[in-house]
Amino acid sequence: MIEVEGLSKTFGWRKPVTAVDDISFRVERGAMHGLLGLVNAGKTTTMRMLATALKPTAGTVSIDGFDTVGQTREVRKKIGYMPETTDFARWSSGPDYLRFWARITGLSGSGEKARIAELTEFLGIAEDSEESPATYTAGHQKMLVLAQALLADPEVLLLDEPLTGISGEDRAFLLGKLEELKRRGKTMVMASPQLSEVQDLSDQVTILVEGRATDPFPTADLLRQVGEGKHARIFVKAVNLSAGALTALKGLKGVVEVKPTSTVTVIYVDPGRVNVGLVRDTLDAEGEGTAPVEAAEITLGDVFRAIVKEGA
């Protein structure tokens, strides 16, 4: 079980930057927790603190009752960490890369070979073995890094954007393997910038935006939070809407904010309560019916805004 309590991390001392600000969540044994966030949301910093590679500025993380700061060695025996990015230029082959990490993990020489063969087979990269991993497809590179995380058969897997940058068959294959690992009872934390990835695999989700986080909630609530099939931002392609139109839009139930910019007017809405049709009807009633109205895709920011507002 993983317990994260009030976790914060600040870098720098002259101009301190808070990368992670007071995050708390709990992951039950055998469950997967999604950390959803865009670039610079604080996902990697959080993952590194969970992986004991970074010391928190405040707060605690415990894994199976062991504190990541005070009982580092015990925690490290329980975790497998898959970082987001790796440069493979220095490795002559996939097994060469895995042999290095097997040594650092402390696997015995005899167990190393069998484990590497088993993992490359499981993750479908056995046939690449003699190639330099720098020439692997992005998907196979991800499999190789996942194999590294699995070397010591850890109870807990910390996966930093395991599916980012891969698509098609590789993506489906890796998703399948992560599901299989979950079925095998691995406890997992997965950071991702994609709603769909987290939605497919996680039991619980925490959304991160610029280091701040929502309270964790069940993934099943994610769609309810944003409103399935609805849109959270609506653009009115008109620069100078009349004061009456702006007031009418602001007065709609479910409109969070109306923000005129230099090119469009952006309407932030509570998903499920306001849609394009309602906005169009309101503009028609105010004599602005010619302004084109479009809905944007749901973004993490929309989800975050919706959730924060609901919690307020």
Partner: protein, 290 residues
């Protein structure tokens, strides 16, 4: 238990040895050092050869004119000027490569103790330095021997090779420590400052001080500066360790009256190496927190 301790050490040793041996920048630095060392050896061999042909009284000759041993002792004096390039390039390249591979955060998530990872890394890099340095040092000694036509004292050759390795280790560790604290980009500039302090500033200060207090003769047969009390500059450490093996008639430092003083240099070298290694092992865990 043994595997948990020894295998991370072996892992880093092999990775850093292989990664360094096949580096292009290292190859260029080694080529430069080889050219400079062999050229200096050739010049010194020429000087010894000409002095021998002149039939002058050996007692009136400068150190580098006194046969093959004298030429090699003089070459040892110049090594701290040209040798640091290789370990500094290696330290920078290694830290840059680790940073771009995101290696440290991942390594720190493994149960292996940091000091064994640091030890394996330093051992691997030292081995990578020894691969070109030992043959190059031997080649320079035997070039002098071949030119002058007389055998070089084997103990002196061993001291020359060993001193070069110690000097390389000192600069390597210094580079690793600087680079770990401030980032790989600072390895070059900060090492250059130490290099300047250890060579130009140290020599200037010594000559000025010696002239003021009359500690050494600055006329007549050239006697290089004393290294026995100089346990701060890496040049002093290198000269001190080499001087202990130089035959008395070729002594290029002032031999200390106290017979314990040469041991101070040996211990000072060891203290510097161990101190920097421990510091590096401690700093490794701090890198991602920077």
């Amino acid at each position: 238990m043994f595997a948990r301790v020894s295998r991370p050490l072996v892992g880093f040793f092999l990775k850093d040895l292989k990664g360094s041996v096949f580096s292009t920048r290292m190859a260029a630095a080694i080529a430069f050092l080889a050219a400079a060392t062999l050229f200096l050896a050739w010049l010194l061999g020429q000087a010894a050869l000409q002095a021998a042909a002149s039939g002058a009284d050996p007692a009136t000759l400068q150190l580098w004119q006194r046969g093959a041993d004298g030429a090699l002792s003089t070459l040892a004096f110049f090594m701290p000027v040209i040798l640091p390039l290789i370990p500094v390039v290696l330290a920078r390249e290694n830290l840059e490569s680790d940073a771009s591979a995101g290696l440290l955060p991942l390594a720190l998530s493994k149960p292996a103790p940091n000091q064994f990872m640091a030890g394996g890394k330093v051992a691997g890099l030292l081995a990578a330095l020894a691969v070109p340095l030992i043959p190059l040092s031997l080649a320079a000694a035997f070039l002098i021997q071949a030119m002058v036509g007389e055998a070089v004292d084997l103990l002196l050759v061993a001291a020359f090779v060993g001193g070069n390795l110690v000097l390389a280790a000192l600069y390597l560790l210094l580079g690793l420590v600087f680079g770990t604290i401030l980032g790989p980009g600072f390895v070059g500039p900060l090492s250059a400052l130490v290099w300047l302090g250890s060579n130009l500033l140290r020599t200037t200060a010594f000559v000025l001080l010696a002239a003021l207090i009359g500690a050494i003769r600055l006329e007549g047969i050239l006697t290089f500066e004393s290294a026995w009390f100089d346990v701060v500059s890496f040049t002093g450490l290198h000269q001190g360790i080499t001087a202990a093996f130089v035959p008395a008639h070729l002594m290029f430092v002032i031999w200390p009256a106290d017979p314990l003083l040469p041991q101070v240099v040996v211990w000072a070298n060891a203290a510097w190496i161990v101190g920097l290694l421990v510091l590096f092992a401690v700093l490794i865990a701090k890198v991602p927190n920077r």
